[in-house]
């Protein structure tokens, strides 16, 4: 059984103007040990696909009109809120783009980390080695020690001294390490990373990428890595799925898709990457006639499928 199996996922968002279809039939399968890069332009539905797996979209606006999202054989779109909370943190870890806004500014790093650890341990007591009979203080102390050990292993030195500090006392790269540690302390099977390196400088970015790569090798987890950066995909991912306007237009192993892209949109996306020698007038975007050709090709393939 696949770790994550999304099939024919349709999502509409409600607003004052009515319902707008956002995802129009997503199919994607993630196995353990795979790192899937989900690429595409802004608004193509990458992040919403990621949030759907943890069902974090507000039920008042997000309306699932079809398909299913099977995590370990269980459909998350039909799971109870309680079951979803157990999945989040415990089995599905998530990290987000901006480490400066994703930590609560009013609480110590240690407090936030210990809470994350204790809630993951509620359904998986083995991750902290708890038997469930310990006192509240003993549990918090165990969670604290486990957090320190994890932070140290993620390259945050003097973690013991840093735990009582507040987020604003940390650099961006340190905060992202803390956020990855918070996502990983529950030892999840799937990590969803929504542009985790976009807000970081290049050297910190490569450290974070190496850390994610190491997690896959050590723990055999599956990763969904959402990004616009095809360079990062080439470095890190084993597979890639290219999204365009709520559909996946091309997918496959990175070596195949990036070397010999079949879909016109993938080729256009790769053509839009500037080279070091590019001048302003030679920068290529995706607009005008090119976009018309992409639309025409997608319409043609859609007709083929239905025929």
């Amino acid at each position: 059984m696949a770790l994550l199996d999304i099939s024919d996922l349709h999502l509409s968002m409600r607003s004052f103007e009515g319902e707008t279809p956002i995802l129009k039939g997503i199919d994607l399968t993630v196995e353990r040990g795979q790192i899937w890069g989900l690429v595409g332009e802004t608004g193509s539905g990458k992040s919403l696909t990621g949030l759907t797996i943890s069902r974090l979209l507000p039920s008042t606006t997000a309306h699932y009109t079809g398909g299913q999202v099977l995590f370990d054989g269980k459909d998350v779109l039909r799971a109870s809120d309680r079951d979803m909370r157990a999945l989040r943190g415990g089995r599905i870890g998530m990290i987000f783009q901006d480490p400066t806004t994703n930590l609560n500014p009013s609480f110590r790093i240690g407090t936030q980390m210990v809470d994350a650890a204790l809630h993951a341990a509620r359904d998986k007591p083995e991750i902290l080695g708890l038997t469930g009979r310990e006192s509240r203080r003993a549990r918090r102390r165990t969670a604290w020690q486990a957090s320190v050990a994890l932070l140290e292993s993620f390259g945050l030195h003097d973690a013991e001294d840093r735990m009582p500090r507040f987020p604003h006392e940390f650099s961006g790269g340190m905060r992202q390490r803390v956020l990855i540690a918070m996502a990983m302390i529950g030892q999840p099977d799937l990590l969803i990373a929504d542009e985790p390196t976009t807000a970081l400088d290049v050297s910190v970015q490569s450290q974070i990428l190496r850390l994610i790569h190491r997690l896959v090798e050590e723990r055999n987890i599956g990763v969904m890595f959402i990004t616009h950066n095809l360079g990062v995909v080439a470095q890190l991912c084993s597979h890639v799925a290219v999204m365009y306007r709520g559909r996946i237009v091309e997918r496959g192993p990175v070596s195949k898709v990036l070397k010999a892209p079949e879909h016109i949109y993938t080729r256009a996306l790769m053509g839009a990457i500037p080279t070091a020698r590019a001048r302003m007038d030679t920068l290529r975007g995706i607009d005008g006639p090119l976009r018309d050709r992409i639309e025409a090709e997608i319409a043609a393939t859609a007709k083929e499928v239905t025929a």
């Binding site: 974090l56 909370r85 989040r88 994703n102 609560n104 009013s106 809630h119 507040f166 604003h168």
Partner: protein, 335 residues
């Protein structure tokens, strides 16, 4: 942290000093003839001169100010032209009454406003949210004296549950003076009968005074909770599987209250200035009633005294708010 508190407290001194200059100048340079009013309509020039000499008002204004300032530091806040009582004695009697009223009103506003605001925010656009939004708009708009009259009509006249006015029944003795707050004094000496009476008298004026700040705190709390709930870190906390009640009462509450706290601090001065009407309607013997009489009689020593006391309370409150802010918000601590 301790150094920060000391520095903030020391900064109060020059502020107050500057305030004495301004208030003294305004009170003395305003047109009018307080000495003539105090001496009476039929006073001869000799009598007026002797009254002026008695209060030191025949000297140049800078000398008067210097005498006032040195007296202030020795606990002599001047003498009322009319009652001939030392201002400090009057203040000792009236300030606790007003403070008791203001603190009671603020407690009601905070204890009711914060949970209701939180509830309105999590049930956003629900029936409760619409209801509180409409009612609170009315509460902010309604004049306090009108609300006071309505409360008197309902609870004192029609239902006869609570006393109409006053701070304590005229036929009974208030609890022995320790702090000047009847409720606190009654608790300190363990006189539960007196405590009940004091609370009965406190209820209506405190309620009338509390409604506007209550509504403002509620709306502020609703707005800041909604804003905090949309922050990235709340999404991260949800993605970590942390239960909604912990996200709300631990991680959201502190951030939301920190924004509301500033409003609460500002309301202290608003309430101190706003007690005048409520005190008049409920015949509450506080600084509102006292200063009204003083202003009408051009009795400037009490006016200056009351202004200074209100300023002092306001300055101390703002220091307390800043300290609480630093406790809630670690970023403030650094600055």
């Amino acid at each position: 942290m301790l150094w920060y508190v000391i520095r903030r407290l020391l900064l109060i001194i020059p502020t107050l000093l500057g305030l004495t200059v301004i208030v003294f100048a305004i009170a003395r340079l305003l047109p009018g003839d307080p000495v003539g009013l105090a001496a009476g309509p039929n006073a001869t020039p000799e009598v007026i001169a002797s009254v002026a000499a008695e209060f030191g008002l025949d000297k140049p204004i800078p000398v008067q100010y210097w005498n006032y300032l040195t007296g202030l530091l020795q606990g002599d806040w001047g003498v009322s032209l009319f009652s001939r009582r030392p201002v400090i004695d009057d203040l000792a009697e009236f300030v606790p009454a007003t403070l008791e009223l203001v603190i009671a009103a603020l407690l009601i506003a905070v204890i009711v406003g914060i949970p209701l605001g939180l509830l309105a925010a999590i049930r956003r656009d629900g029936i409760f949210d619409y209801l509180t939004r409409t009612v609170s708009l009315g509460a902010i708009a309604m004049p306090r004296f009108f609300l006071g009259l309505l409360l008197q009509l309902a609870f004192a006249m029609a239902l006869n549950w609570l006393p109409l006015s006053g701070r304590f029944p005229l036929i009974e003795f208030p609890p022995d003076r320790i702090t000047g707050f009847y409720t606190v004094d009654a608790i300190l000496i363990g006189d539960w009968h007196a405590l009940g009476l004091a609370l009965q008298h406190l209820a209506l004026p405190a309620l009338a005074l509390s409604l506007s700040p209550l509504a403002t705190i509620l709306r502020m709390m609703r707005a800041s909770t909604i804003e905090v709930l949309q922050q990235d870190y709340i999404l991260t906390e949800r993605a970590l599987g942390i239960p909604p009640w912990i996200i709300l009462f631990k991680y959201t509450l502190r951030n939301a209250v920190s924004a509301t706290l500033t409003v609460i601090g500002l309301y202290v001065s608003w309430l101190l200035g706003g007690t005048v009407l409520v005190e008049t309607i409920f015949d509450w013997p506080g600084i509102g009633l006292y200063s009204t009489q003083a202003i009408l009689g051009q009795d400037f020593m009490p006016v200056i005294g009351v202004t200074l006391v209100i300023a002092m309370i306001y300055l101390v409150t703002s220091v307390i708010v800043d300290i609480l802010q630093a406790v809630l918000n670690p970023k403030v601590r650094l600055q």
